[in-house]
């Protein structure tokens, strides 16, 4: 509608980004699945209010790294994480950090839309309820509405809040999952190939949403689509065989990468 103001916002955000503090810092992160080592001393920082894209061929460790950021790897048997990851100043693998609290601060959206087989309302309200974020029903209604608004889903579902969330289309389900993640007011949102199960139109909507969410949240997204990484992210990190190959501004990454492997991957020579 008003391109001027939008680009102004962009500019302000980019400005904010360039001198942004590092929201999450990963230092010498290594992950082992039993004897097998999946990540090799990865040093990767996530900037605040920035979309960071993790790219790389299948099995390169990008999802593994993503799942380290909210300790989802804890649920995998035999998985061991070494190194240090901090959120603001807190070491998230510290004994004193409660993983429940961590996951409230670092939300996650998965590859396949996975709404609970409950109503749309219950899908959104579940997180705030278990974290005690609302005092009463009116409060909760407000959280639900705000989350759906932010996820751009309110208009489509406001008349059917009490119908099952699994009855929505794939794209709507994925945005419902994003709304569900937003509802607990996280600081960082991790997205693991959020569009890989969606059609191009639904993908466009989700990408647009990611773009808007950037103003309030720090986003880390794993994607297989180079175009998507180029479209939605400001920073891009390239993984290969469990190692971080290169991390750079997205523009630079896709035009003039420092590393030959990045160049080859982006050109489609392997992967």
């Amino acid at each position: 509608m008003n391109m001027m103001s939008e680009s102004a916002v962009e500019k302000a955000l980019d400005q904010k980004m360039s001198d942004a503090s590092h929201k999450m810092i990963g230092k010498d992160v290594s992950v082992y699945y039993g004897e097998k080592r999946a990540l090799f001393d990865v040093n990767l920082n996530v900037r605040e209010n920035t979309v960071t894209a993790l790219i790389g061929p299948s099995g390169c460790g990008k999802s593994t790294f993503l799942r380290c950021l909210n300790r989802m790897n804890d649920t995998i048997e035999n998985c061991r994480v070494t190194g240090k990851i901090t959120l603001d100043a807190d070491d998230i693998y510290d004994q004193n950090i409660d993983v429940v609290e961590l996951r409230a601060r670092v939300g996650m959206v998965f590859q396949k839309p996975n709404p609970f087989p409950k109503t749309i309302y219950e899908n959104i309200s579940y997180g705030p309820r278990i974290h005690g974020l609302s005092k009463n029903k009116a409060d909760m209604d407000q959280i639900v509405e705000a989350s759906l608004q932010r996820a751009g889903l309110w208009g489509e579902v406001k008349d059917r809040l009490h119908e099952s969330g699994t009855g929505l289309s794939g794209g709507q389900q994925q945005r419902l999952c994003i709304a569900r993640a937003i509802a607990v007011s996280p600081e960082v949102i991790l997205m693991d190939e959020p569009c890989s199960a969606l059609d191009p139109i639904a993908t466009a909507k989700v990408e647009e949403l990611i773009h808007e969410l950037r103003a309030n949240y720090t986003i880390v997204i794993v994607t297989h689509s180079m175009q998507q990484a180029a479209r939605v992210s400001q920073r891009t990190a390239m993984f290969h065989l469990g190692q971080l190959v290169e991390e750079n501004d997205t523009d630079k990454m896709f035009t003039n990468p420092d590393d030959q492997r990045t160049q080859d991957y982006i050109m489609g020579r392997f992967g």
Binding site: M72, T75, V100, E101, A104, N114, Y126
Partner: protein, 439 residues
Amino acid sequence: MTDVVSPAAGIPRAKSVRRDIGIKRRYAAERRFRAYGIAALSFGIIFLMLLLWSVVSKGYTAFQQTMITMPVEFSQQIIDPQNERATNPQKLMTANYPVVARNALAKLLNVSVDDRVASRAIGQMLSDGVRVQLRDLVVANPAIIGTTQTVRLLASGDIDSAYKGQIDLDVGQENRKINDQQLGWMKQLSDSGALAKHFNSGIFVNGASSRPEAAGVGVALIGSFYMMLIVLVLSLPIGVAASIYLEEFAPKNKFTDLIEVNINNLAAVPSIVYGLLGLAVFVNFMGLPRSASFVGGLVLTLMTLPTIIIATRAALKAVPPSIRAAALGLGASKMQTIFHHVLPLAMPGILTGTIIGLAHALGETAPLLLIGMVAFVANYPTTPLDPSTALPVQIYMWANEAERAFVERTSGAIIILLLFLILMNVGAILLRRRFERRW
């Protein structure tokens, strides 16, 4: 060669070099396989029909009972000749009621009570149960002594069988339990309408009896009900809790592997072994009473647990991991994830497993024999600690009886047991549907 515009000409030739894959044979094999399937299915259905037909055709008569409706004179002469009922309450309990009934029937048939042989034959036409029937009437209302009341009395089991046409009348009367004179009387009574078949409520409420016409599954029903209740209350929570722990919390190591193997093996242990275990542990070691449905319930619980645990674990495993990931990703604890999301989704499977386990337990006989539930119990058990029997054990006991009237009762009890099983399965389906609709 010169035909440059027909590269397509090469295509039909390619077809001829294609390996013969026997398309016709493939289809034939598929048709054969389908035919085998249909044959197997028909085989099963035929046998099911045979079973049902045999049980129902033999058993439906058990729900009707031959009774004789007649005026009975409650003669003071016979019941209480010395008029001592006010001082001796035992008198009314021990009075000679069969004679009262016999005299009434003799009067109806115009036979003199002085004819000893005829009176004896008449007395045999009535069930021994009339003693209890008349006694209950008199004890409930002593004022009827000296009056004449119309009463419906049970005919004896032999008359019942004869009247239902289950006795072969071609054999000589010396080889039957019922002679020609009695048959004549039976015909006379049935022509006058005094003797007729009525709905047999006794089979549902009466306890054990050596007289088939007075025997029923009342005690067995109560015993089975207590046991089902105990099995449900014990095995569902224990089974579900064990499965949740094993499936979600327990570390995967040699020890838990061992437990898993053992649970799977326990499900296949013959039930009589559980009976021996119950006898050794619950009756002999813990000193719980014999023949009690409480002990039966405990034994059946042990027997049902593996079934429920296996079904529950399968149901928990079938919940998509994405739901767990979603809940954990939102910051739900493991407990919350399981109880808010996984368990409700697994509920239909758990319920189905539980009801299959219960139905299995309902039909189980062998372990109950060992803990003494195969007993002659005539009185209702008021608590699960009182002696009682169970439906399948009652069927087993009746099947061992010689009288013709017990044959129909055996089938009748099987029908009752099958009805309960159908009822439980319908319950399972309804519950399942209800839970599935909610999600």
